[in-house]
């Protein structure tokens, strides 16, 4: 076999390429690959957005500030005393703090956040924090501890992805 034989063989074999009817008219659309990538990324973005939306209302500012306003505060700016409202927890049972909330507070304190005892306002539980900066309120570490490590509605062995569902309906699941 010499190079000419090889060339001829390749040319002959290439001629046996028979595309499907209509293949030549199916012109690839611009941006097709981009769309594929967008589809691949979108579930992650959607999941992150959903988690942020569900977790954000857990800690609310009591003075009528919107959630976005609170999120807009950098930890360094929160220097004034604040009141942290804890949403979604049961009212006091015979004057006592509900067990899940108590667990949460204990956990936070164990992790170095000296939270004061919450008080029942009639709409929910709230805590008055004299020096949020010293407490570390709003820092990444605080958020991780409050929302993940000490998420009081997290069941034993529960995963983070179960958290949103549990947070929305804490009371019916307490018995589990």
């Amino acid at each position: 076999m010499n190079e000419t034989d090889l060339r001829d063989a390749l040319r002959e074999h290439a001629e046996s390429f028979k595309p499907d009817v209509g293949w030549l008219t199916r012109i690839p659309a611009p941006g097709r690959t981009w769309k594929r990538r967008a589809i691949a990324v979108s579930p992650l973005v959607a999941a992150a957005a959903a988690a942020a939306t569900i977790l954000a209302p857990v800690y609310l500012h009591p003075d009528g500030a919107s959630q976005s306003e609170i999120r807009g505060h950098s930890p360094a700016l929160v220097t004034q005393p604040i009141r942290i409202q804890l949403a979604g927890y049961a009212p006091p049972i015979h004057g006592a703090i509900p067990k899940p909330l108590e667990k949460h507070l204990t956990c936070m304190r164990t992790h170095g956040y000296d939270l004061p005892d919450p008080t029942w306002t009639g709409h929910g539980w709230s805590m008055f924090v004299q020096d949020p900066r010293q407490l570390g309120f709003g820092t990444q570490r605080w958020k991780r501890t409050a929302f993940v490590t000490c998420a009081l509605t997290r069941r034993d062995g529960g995963r983070f992805h179960e958290l949103p569902d549990v947070l929305m309906h804490p009371r019916p699941r307490l018995g589990r």
Partner: protein, 181 residues
Amino acid sequence: MTSSVQEDAVPARVTSSSNASAIAELYLHHAEYFGRVAFLLTDSNEQAQDIVQDAFARLAGRFHRIRDPMAMRAYVRKTIVNLAINHYRKRETERSYLRSSATMPAPAAYEVDVESRRDIIQALRSLTPRQRAAVVLRYYEDLPEAEIAQLLHCPLGTVKSTLSRALSALRITLDEGEANE
């Protein structure tokens, strides 16, 4: 030469027309030719069509960055070679799995019936993906070795040795086929 005809067929007004129509024009001019190249690389009509479609779709995504029509051809060719090599590797992995399960004969067991062009194509299947790509680019597309080196991301010397080994492997396979008869 097939390739030189195709080079001349590059539409001169590709850069002046809109993206979609330019892609369409380019596709209509070159899809069949590149389909043949992909077919030689993959040995499959369906895979060849998919690879060409994919290559042009990728070109469409980056169209605004490429202004030179010749660069577009080079981009498509490069994409096709890369996709074909990847496809070939995947197929080899599947084959090796099947081989280990003893459900399919090894490629070395391909029988070469008679000394003909068909046998050469059969022997081509015994080459590695890179060797096969180098052979197709050199002997079907008639690309200079330097350009093949760019396409395959390797030094010129490597292309030369790859081609040399590929031809030796083809000859050995054909000789073995003759000896078995």
